[in-house]
Amino acid sequence: MDFNDTKEEAEFRAEARAFLGKHLDPKGDKPLRQRVDGSEFMRRAKEWQKTKAENGYAQITWPKEIGGRGGTPMQQVIWNQEEGKFDAPTGPFTIGLGMCIPTVIAFGSDEHKKRYVGKALKGEEIWCQLFSEPSAGSDVAGLKTRAVKDGDEWVINGQKVWTSGAHYSDYGILLTRTDPSVPKHKGLTMFIVDMKQAGVEVRPIHQASGGREFNEVYFTDVRIKDSDRLGDVGQGWKVAIVTLMNERLAVGGSPGPDWAEIMAYAKEAGTMSDQAFREKLADWYVAAQGYKLTKFRTQTALSRGQTPGPENSIGKIITANHLQDICNSAIEMQDHYGILTDSDRMPADAIFQQSFMWAPGLRIAGGTDEILKNIIAERVLGLPQDVRVDKDLPFDQMKSG
């Protein structure tokens, strides 16, 4: 066991760090959640993406032929670690390059790849993912957005929801229902959609936390050429699985204050002598370490050429509930005063209050606690699937409440 880089890893890390230091400022002391709004931010983000692409850092594991570096997953991990130490505007490209473009590469035509991959890699075009719908959240395959064939085109009507970045995206991958007369998984088809065309309307969602980081997207008689289909008609679920497999790897990270922050607050507040707090602090430390060290195990597996499996789902179950618990405890330690949200006046810049409102969303986004436990039970432990009463039922005969 050894936490050090191998010689090759150390070399790559030094190279990456030098490159980053040349182009970016180090991150400040108090990183707030990256704000992806504003044209100045977007200009900087696109520029940085272009710089990365030109120097082979944009998608490290992709083959060189399509603009990648032909590097190892471990190099990508090292790059992410180092880039994370700088003030790097990366947000807008995560979904496109992490989920959408890999799907285009897997299922698109040669024309698609020529047309879209390079521009996405260089940050010239931004992509979003259009799967979830108001009535199809955990049960994505229950979606209703219709695509009806009309000559060489498809006509799209319906609504998507929780779409990150829809308002600044140029293209999206869009999962639709093309045949409601067959069971739900079998009547789906995936398309590439131009987000700037008429009939596509993007509305920000006002979240429970007060923010507006996600969108609803309405499609009204939007036309897509059949040549912009990804995969065969009726094979949309198969295509979507490829996209979603990449999602689980993308989610994670430290979403807010942790044991160190609440310990710092307790010291400031003079409550470190409270044994009840001390025992909770120990539990939080152990959970946070458990999460962090499990990622090290995953990295080790990556560096050995293994593919991390569904066991990664444990990360989000731990962190989301952990965050909610820590924030709740910090607020209660502040007693009546804890209800205030003014960051100028509050301990820790009111980060506990902000994250308190964000935590419920984290327990839902990217798979609810309940869905993730099902994934662990079924795919890791091999327990039977839930009974699926709609498995063989034509979609248009399904009950939907």
Partner: protein
């Protein structure tokens, strides 16, 4: 054995529910939520005044209905169900009880009738910063006739006309009554986790004030008032928790995924069953608190603490798992789940956080056991 509310009290509750469902729907709450300049729903408040509810436990001689705190418990639960965006809790549970417990007959005769008429809106100001306020660390001072210092936050502090304030007097603490519309009072509205209820920072600069009770009795009186307020707040929390469970249950029956209602999944069923268990534990402890506070029983300190601890836990669990049950919908501004989550947090810290009450409870058990 009669461990339940009377038929009359239940009737009052039913009538209150009908009234509030009609007069205080969620749209009425959202009027306050969506406008930073609106401190409370004045229409709803006016109707509450007209119903005479503010005088529920105020003696008839002072213009009240002369009922007891059991009736206030019944109303509190209903107020909790609708997240009433009015200074009801501050005026009734804290301010009125403070006057009844600590006020002189002159003070009572002066102020209580004006509470009933709606001319006086009360609030209770103890907190001065992070942590539970104690006599030892108070900075606000009372010099016998004027009050100076800063109280923050004061729930409903910007809509109230009067405040009961916990202040230092000499080496001890006293409770004092202040007219917030008088001189020497500056108020500033604050942003909080629960924008459906208003909060203020109140700066007193030699504001004229009169003492409630004896000099130096502030901490003792504060404890008594909080025992009363804790029971009444617990019923409000119970109402919120019950409503959150109903919302989650209704949604789980209506929302389909994988071809059937999500409420058919054990993950949801058992989550809601756990909510039910917590709510029933809270309800039973609330009933005991109601009995103790209404009869002035010696068991009040432990009964109030147990009611508060159970109600805080029930509302916290119900409000957060109600969001979770609603999935993505539950995390939108338009769906009401987050309003319960926000209110749950406010009510859990307003009269001392659960950990403060756990310590109070154990101290009481120790003393009893030692006696």
């Amino acid at each position: 054995m009669n461990f339940d509310f009377s038929e009359d009290q239940k009737f009052l509750g039913n009538e209150a529910r009908k009234f509030l469902e009609s007069e205080c729907p969620m749209t009425a709450v959202r009027l306050v939520l969506n406008d930073d300049d609106v401190s409370h729903n004045a229409d709803v408040w006016k109707k509450v005044v007209e119903m005479g509810w503010l005088g529920t436990a105020i003696p008839e001689e002072h213009g009240g209905l002369g009922l007891g705190l059991l009736e206030v418990c019944v109303l509190a639960e209903e107020m909790g169900r609708v997240l009433a965006p009015v200074p009801w809790a501050s005026t009734v549970y804290f301010f009125t009880e403070a006057l009844k417990i600590a006020g002189s007959s002159e003070q009572q005769a002066d102020v209580l009738p004006r509470i009933v008429s709606g001319d006086v809106v009360g609030c209770y100001a103890a907190s001065e910063g992070p942590g539970n306020p104690t006599a030892a660390n108070l900075k606000t001072t009372f010099d016998g006739s004027t009050l100076s210092g800063t109280k923050v936050p004061v729930t409903d502090g910007d809509v109230a006309t009067h405040a009961v304030v916990l202040a230092k007097e000499g080496s001890g603490a006293s409770l004092v009554l202040v007219d917030l519309t008088g001189e020497g009072v500056t108020r500033k509205t604050l942003q909080t986790l629960d924008p459906t209820r208003s909060h203020a920072e109140i700066v007193f600069d030699k504001a004229p004030a009169t003492r409630l009770g004896n000099a130096g009795d502030g901490e003792m009186l504060n404890d008594q008032i909080l025992d009363h307020a804790a029971v009444l707040l617990a019923f409000e929390q119970l109402g919120g928790a019950s409503r959150a469970l109903e919302m989650a249950t209704d949604y789980a029956k209506e929302r389909y995924a994988f071809g059937r209602p999500i409420g058919g999944n054990q993950a949801i069923k058992h989550k809601l069953a756990e909510m039910y268990v917590k709510n029933e534990v809270a309800r039973s402890n609330c009933f005991y608190g109601a009995w103790a506070v209404s009869t002035g029983a010696a068991e009040l300190p432990e009964a109030a603490a147990a009611a508060r601890i159970a109600a805080c836990e029930a509302f916290w669990f119900a409000s957060k798992e109600n969001i979770q049950t609603h999935g993505g919908m539950g995390f939108t501004w338009e769906v009401d789940c987050h309003l319960f989550y926000r209110r749950a947090k406010l009510l859990a810290v307003q009269a001392g956080a659960p950990k403060v009450w756990k310590e109070k409870l154990v101290r009481t058990l120790e003393n009893k056991n030692a006696a």
